[in-house]
Symmetry: C2
Subunit: 364 residues, 2 copies
């Protein structure tokens, strides 16, 4: 599976806060990989999907955003949100969540890997022990916009919000997760549920898992209620291979998983439209981090790793492996002058970003 | 605040699986505490709220369960559920969840404490480092029974379930949590939200937190989205004092918290009606554990600790302290012949239960 267009057209959206600081190193690392592996990449940068843009235009996006971005193969996205200036639900529903939904990026994919050089908060775990994927439904479920308020301002005030699951929506994310599990050596799929408490939508999810499993007799399937599943992430992270969950459960697990491997500040995320009908979007998991923004000390690894997922998505496996290898060796070396404060060093976005870029350029 | 009735009338419901095995030691420890501290307790045991009962009667509870149990001050509950025999949603919605809702036990309270003698899955944490409470809304929210299915069996199949928050429901759990925070030395309250994604009910929750906070100027309040909050549980569990969440978020956090302290197999839970209009219910967090049931090796600490919460609830503070002290010293001793396999020993329900009972009898 390789790209259909050459050059591969990438829309660059730095967004807010540290998104704008890590993005240049993400792009440089992609360019480096392109150079070494002979992949033609073109980049175009946009200033929308940022709170600056919102304050100027009263909207997170220009009216023609969908047309504009549809012309690209992928979106390379920094981070959005400045809660002191624009409420999070406005900035996020007006940009990132809109992309996910309108570009039908129905898969949110995140790796959980324990890397050398990264401090793990769990006792007694070493690199290689934890290595799994989280596949999250990314367009429906608990993130619906159906609901409202009645008897506002009185003691009877009642607020409702609908969780919506469709057969189409559930089946396609399950299929993706089963396919992924089937490609991996352990061939194991864990489904996140809560059918003992959330007694309408979640039993439906379980039923679709059982149905889908029939088509994958070689995949070992288990399921856990989300409460005990979060406990297992902490106590037995080695038991997972591919974990699939609804929009909300996937959201929770894909922060918790990287937290358990100490990589929450550096984990990437792919918002994928597997059909390639629309561009997929690759972003670091960390947000805009207003608290450290503007000082040039943000860790660029999440951004670079997101670029690695982009390469992988388009089938550039060697280039993707080289980028991940570069990240791993720079982190494993753990040079205090190079790595950023979150990794125990005194380096900067620049020192860490350039070290990884150099390592990629030296690959092959 | 001491009990109004004497003796304190306790309904004992062992339920299923290991519930029936740990219950006798729970009762013996309560009796021991009663004896030492001069508290009159009476116990009556019921066989309903079990899958045995369901198979005999076609229902989890007898028709007059509510009248019967209303005559008690508290319910001491083992565990329910045998998924191979009765689907979990049937057994749980037919018993435990019914009690919570019909007895308006709107608070679910769980301690997260790192105890000596308990192996903690987090690196570098020691007893005393982690000590907080989780306050969970226990009657509404995501656990609603409103919703359904349309276009069943077709490609358009759509399933919906409503999350319902009422001002009454939200405010009373927040008030309880703020009151609790105010009584503690650190006076800190953390609210679990997801207002950036769940954009109708969760912003409402946040608004009620802001409103309630005005009445508690001495309580420090913060909030985190549930995804990053689960990460903080793993990375910075020492930052919490009282954590409050909706029914689902509280459910997740109150498994994750005890998992982070290594106590998930032994944590207790109070389902509390603070107004004392109905009996409150005290149970271990662990379920019926069909996999180890029948072998007499289940850890009875969760059951005994739940009894400790019962004593605390009725204001028997000395007795409650003695029971917790007994649990802590027996676990800290960690005698391999006494403690159960989950604590690294080769003891039984009996050896561990009796050791704690003996320690209570020796108190004062
Ligand atoms: C068994 C289940 C329905 C229950 C819940 O979700 O409330 C349990 O997880 C709990 O926390 O007591
Ligand atoms: C920012 C927020 C709306 C978003 C989500 O909940 O999807 C984020 O947590 C993520 O996981 O990408």
């Amino acid at each position: 599976m390789a790209t259909t267009t050459s050059p591969l057209k990438i829309a660059v959206i730095p967004g807010d806060g540290i998104g704008t600081e890590v993005m240049p190193y993400g792009v440089r690392c992609l360019e480096a990989a392109g150079k070494v592996f002979g992949i033609e990449l073109s980049f175009e940068t946009f200033d929308f999907a940022s709170c600056d843009f919102y304050e100027k235009h009263g909207d997170m996006l220009p009216p023609d955003w969908k047309e504009t971005l549809s012309g690209f193969d992928a979106i390379y996205f920094g981070a959005v949100g400045m809660p002191d200036r624009v409420p999070d639900d406005v900035s996020l529903w007006g940009s990132l969540l809109k992309f996910r939904r309108e570009f039908d990026q129905y898969i949110n994919l995140r790796p959980c890997r324990l890397l050398a050089g990264v401090k793990c908060p769990l006792a007694g775990r070493k690199p290689g022990d934890i290595d799994f994927w989280i596949v999250r439904e990314n367009t429906e479920g608990e993130y619906s916009s159906i609901g409202g308020k009645i008897f506002e301002g009185t003691d009877r005030e009642t607020v409702m919000q609908e969780t919506v699951m469709t057969r189409t929506g559930v089946d396609r994310v399950l299929r993706y997760a089963f396919d992924l599990a089937q490609q991996r050596p352990r061939k194991k799929l864990t489904s996140a549920t809560k059918s003992n408490g959330i007694s309408i939508t979640m039993p439906y999810w379980d039923a679709r898992v059982r149905e889908m499993a029939k088509g994958y007799p070689d995949v070992k399937v288990d399921k856990y209620h989300i409460d005990i599943l979060t406990a297992h992430f902490v106590q037995h992270p080695d038991m997972f291979d591919v974990v699939v969950g609804s929009n909300l459960f996937g959201d929770i697990l894909s922060d918790l998983g990287p937290a358990c491997t100490g990589t929450i500040g550096i984990a990437p995320s792919g918002n994928i439209n597997p059909d390639r009908a629309f561009p997929s979007l690759f972003e670091p998991v960390h947000g805009s981090a207003p608290d450290i923004a503007g000082r040039g000390v943000a860790n660029p690894v999440g951004m670079i790793w997101a670029g690695q997922m982009l390469l992988q998505h388009f089938g550039f496996r060697d280039a993707a492996d080289a980028v991940l290898g570069a990240i791993e060796s720079v982190l494993a070396r753990g040079d205090a002058d190079v790595v950023t404060a979150d990794m125990g060093g005194k380096g900067t976005t620049k020192s860490l970003g350039e070290a990884i870029e150099a390592e990629i350029l030296a690959a092959k």
